[in-house]
Symmetry: D2
Subunit: 282 residues, 4 copies
C-alpha cells in the first residue's frame, strides 16, 4: 500500500484498505446484498428513455433474477448535442419501476447540487467514470446515507481508484462499491479494454466489494456474456449490464445493450459461474 | 470533423470548428492577448501556499516578461490527505499579486457552487484535466463572462477535448483556450506523455488558441525548457509553466516546478523561438 | 474483417479467418489436443536453468494433469547482461523431460538460423511476443511441420495478431495457436494488462485455438489463478503458466512463477471451470 | 540509471550511458556527421519502388540539402499480402542513387541472414521499430563495421530502447543512432503518438545521437513539418522524413510522405530551427 509519508497514519487510502480492516464489507439495500459471498446482478437500461421502455426492462430483469435495477436519468454525454437524459422525470420513472418490481435502484449523480434530489430516489448513488476525479462530488456523496457505486475512470490506476473511494469514506460513508469498466488503450476491437486483473488486485487491497461493467468496456453486446463470466471467475462481487427492449432504437449506447429477451439466458449462465465460485446471487 | 448524423447542422463540435469559423480567435484579458500571432507566457506557482511565496513568484515572473499569472487556490489532489489548497484565502492572495504586478490571473474552478467566487477574482477560469468531462461544470463556465482555460484530460482524445470546449461554447462563451498537458501511456520516464502532435491537429480543427503545459506532463523540471521550446515550434499559442521560490519545499508537485531564479533564462529562450515562429509574446 | 482493397480475394487475413473457414481448428501433438472443446493446460518453467529444476517441474506438472510442457532454452531478455538461457543444452534437457513424462514440448525460437535445431526437439514452436512482428521468422516457421504457438506483442492490436498468424499460414502451416499475454498500458499494479476481451473477439474472427498466458501478463504469482480461471470463463482453449520448484531462486521472472507444490491445486481449480464451459482438458 | 543488481559493473546499459561516457558520440559517414552539434537531415522514399521514383527523390533531397538518403529495400509489412519491397534489386537502386548524389544511404535490415548483403550497400543499417526487441539481429549488427540507426518499438519504454542499444554496443559497435518514431496510445488523430519528451530524456541518459521520425509517428504529411520543427527544438540531433514524387501513388505509407516539390521549403524551415539551437546541418 502506498504511503504518503513514512507514517502509518498517513496511508494514502487507510479507511478502505484491507490491511487495516480485514473483514469484507457487505453492502445491503432493501434486503439485497453485495460483497463477502453475495453476488450483485445489476441490470437495466443505459438510459431511462420512456416509462414503457423502463418498466418493460425492469420487469424482465426482475423476473430473470436481477438484484438491482440500473438506469440513467442524468446522463454525461461526450457531445453536448447528444440526448442528456430525462433528469427529474427519469427519477420518477425509476421510482415507479422500483415500486412495481421491488428492485432497489442505482442511478448516476453528476452534480453536487442534485445530491438531495437523487438521494431521495436512489438506493445506491452511482459516480460515473467521468467523475471519479471530481473530488467535491465524492465528498458530497460521502455525507449522504446511501451506498455509492464508484466507477473507475478510463485513465485511472487501481491506486487512484482506491484514493477516490477514500474521499467518500473520509466523509463518513464507507459503503462504497468499486466498479471496473474498462481503461483506454490502443486496442480498437473493443470500446475500452476491460482490466480484469484489477478485480483480484482490488480484492487484495481493499475490503470493499468489487464489481465489473462489461457493457461499457466492450461497447458491443456479443462480448457481454463471455466478459461477465470471466469477471465472476476472476472474483468479482457482481456485474452490471445494460439491457434494452430494442437496442437498435436506443437513444444511447445501443450496440452494447443486451436484448430484454436474452437476459434470462444471460442470468442463468452467470449463476452457474457464481455457484462454482461458492457465492450466492444476493 | 466527426458528424453526429449526416446533417451538417449536427456536427459534434460546430461552434469551435475552424471549418465553420475560419478566423482565429484572440483571447484578450487586461491588455494581454493569446491567439492569432499573440503568444501567452503563463507562469506561477502550482499552488498558492503563502502570501510571501506567491508574491515573490509573481514579481519574478512579471519581471521576466510573463503575461499571465497562474496559481491554484482550490486544488484537486489524488489523495484526500494531501494539501487541498487555501481556497478563498488563496484567491485573495492572487488578487493582491495582480494588484501589485498588473498580471491577469488564471486559477482553477472545481465546483459549480464556487463559480461566482472564483469569477470575481479570476481573469481566466481554469477547468483542470480531471474535470474536462465534468459537463455541468463546463456549462456553468459557459455562462460567465470570463475566458476559460480548458485542460485536456489524460485519457481524452483530441476530439473529446473539442467536444468539451463545445459544451462551454454552446452556453454562449466562445472564449476558450485549449491546453495540452500530457496523456496516460506506458512510458515511465515522464509523469505523462506530452502529446505535441495535438497542437497542429487542434490548430487545424479549431479556431481557438492552443497552449501547452510542459510542467505537469513531464513531472520533472529539467524537461520543462526543451518541451516548452518544442511546443512553440509545434505551433502553440502559449505555454503554462510552474515556478516556485524553493521547489524542494513545495506543498504540491515540487519536482516539476522551475526555480524562480531560473525563470528569466527560461523566458528568454522561449522568446527566441516565439520570434522565429513569427509571433509576439502578447 | 479488414480488407486490403475492396476485393474479397485480398482480405488482410483470409486463411485464418473464421468467415472463410467456419470449422474450428484442433491442434494435435503426441495425442494431446487443443481447440474445439479440447483445453490445453500448458505448464513448466519460464527458463530451463538446470536438468534437476526442469525434471522436477516436468514430473510435477505431468502428475497434476498438464498436457504440454513449456520451457525456454533460448531466452529473449531486455538486458544483454541478463541470463540468456542454456541454448542447445536446454533443448537436450527438454527432450529428456519429454522422454520421462511423455509430455509434448513447447519452446521458443528466436532466430531463423535455429529453426531446424529447435524443430528437431520442439513439438510446438513458440514465437514470443517480442518477435510477433518478425515476419521472416514467421515465414520460416510457416515452412516447418510443427504447430506454432504465436504470442501477441504487447503493442499489437488483435487485428495485427491475426495478420501475423496469416504470415505463418500463407507459407503452408495453418496449425497456429494464438496466445494473449498482456498489453502495455499505464496501469502499474500488474506487469502488463491482460486483455481478456481479445479471447471472445479472436474466437469470433478466427478458427484457430486461442490460449492465455496469465503469468507474463500479471508478473505476480498471486494473480495467476484468478486470471487463468477468468480466461477459461471467457472462452479460452488453454492456458500457459510458469511453474518453478523455488521461484525465489529463479534466474528469470521468479515473482510470476507458481511453486511446484501449488500446481496441483491450480490444475484442479482450472479443471472445474473447464468442465463448466463444456470442455475437456485435452 | 537502472541497475541489474547493486553493483556498478552490472548497470543495465553501461556502454551507452552518459554517466560513464560523458562525451557525446558523433557518427560520421562519407563526410556527413550526426551528433554533438551536427544535425542529420535524413530524407527519401519510404520504399524503393522503382529506379525512377528513387532517383528523382534522391536528386531532390540532395539539392535541398539532405545529408543522408533513406529508402527501404526490405520492407516489414503488417499484412503478408502487402508489397514487401524490391529486396536485392532495391539495394542496387539505392547504390546507384548514392553514386549519383553522393549521399550516404540508410536502409533497413530485417533478417540476420541478409546482414552481409545489406552491409555491402548501406552506409548506415536501420533496425526498424518492429525489430527493436529482435536481440539476435541487434547482436548481428553489433559485429559489422557500420553505424546502426535503431528505432524505438511502439511499445518500448525509453529504458528498453537504451538496453536494445546496449545489445549492439556490447558486440563492439558503439556507433548507434537512436530514433523516436511514436508510441501506441489511445489517441486516433495520429497513427502513433510522437513522444518528444523521449528526446531530452535520452540526451540526458546516453551519449548517443538521438533523432526523430515524424512521418511514421503522424501518419499524415500535414503534421510532418510542425513535428519536425518541434523535434529540433526539443534537442534532437536529426530528423528522418519520407518524401515521394507522387504520394498518392505510393505503394506504402503514401499519406505520410511529403511531396518532392515541398521538401525544399521543409528543409529551409528546419535549418532555421537548427541554427537557433546552435547546431549545424552536418
Amino acid at each position: 500500500m502506498m504511503e504518503i509519508t513514512g507514517s502509518p497514519d498517513l496511508l494514502a487510502y487507510r479507511l478502505v484498505a484491507r490491511e487495516l480492516t480485514p473483514d469484507a464489507t457487505v453492502i445491503e439495500v432493501r434486503g439485497r446484498r453485495i460483497g463477502d459471498g453475495f453476488f450483485g446482478l445489476i441490470a437495466g437500461p443505459c438510459t431511462v428513455e420512456t416509462r414503457e421502455q423502463t418498466l418493460e426492462t425492469a420487469r424482465a430483469v426482475a423476473a430473470a433474477g436481477a438484484t438491482v435495477l440500473r438506469g440513467g436519468a442524468f446522463k454525461p454525454r461526450t457531445s453536448p448535442y447528444a440526448f442528456q437524459g430525462l433528469g427529474s422525470k427519469g427519477l420518477e420513472i425509476l421510482a415507479e419501476a422500483r415500486e412495481e418490481t421491488g428492485l432497489p435502484i442505482v442511478t448516476e449523480l453528476l452534480d453536487p447540487r442534485d445530491v438531495q434530489e437523487v438521494a431521495a430516489v436512489a438506493d445506491v448513488i452511482q459516480i460515473g467514470a467521468r467523475n471519479m476525479h471530481n473530488f467535491n462530488l465524492l465528498a458530497e456523496v460521502g455525507r449522504v446515507p446511501r451506498p455509492v457505486l464508484l466507477k473507475r475512470a478510463p485513465s485511472a490506476t487501481v491506486e487512484e481508484l482506491l484514493m477516490a473511494a477514500e474521499y467518500v469514506a473520509k466523509e463518513g460513508n464507507e459503503r462504497v462499491i468499486l466498479c471496473e469498466r474498462g481503461i483506454k488503450t490502443f486496442e480498437r476491437s473493443t470500446r475500452y479494454t476491460l482490466d480484469l486483473s484489477a478485480v483480484p488486485v482490488l480484492k487484495r487491497e481493499t475490503h470493499l466489494p468489487v464489481i465489473v461493467d462489461p457493457s461499457h468496456a466492450a461497447g458491443r453486446s456479443d462480448l457481454v456474456l463471455p466478459l461477465a463470466r470471466a469477471a465472476v471467475a476472476a472474483g468479482a462481487d457482481g456485474v452490471m449490464v445494460e439491457v434494452h427492449p430494442r437496442p437498435e432504437d436506443a437513444l444511447c449506447d445501443g450496440p452494447q445493450q443486451i436484448r430484454v429477451g436474452e437476459f434470462g439466458r444471460f442470468a442463468d449462465e452467470i449463476r452457474t459461474v457464481v455457484a462454482l465460485m461458492g457465492k450466492t446471487v444476493g
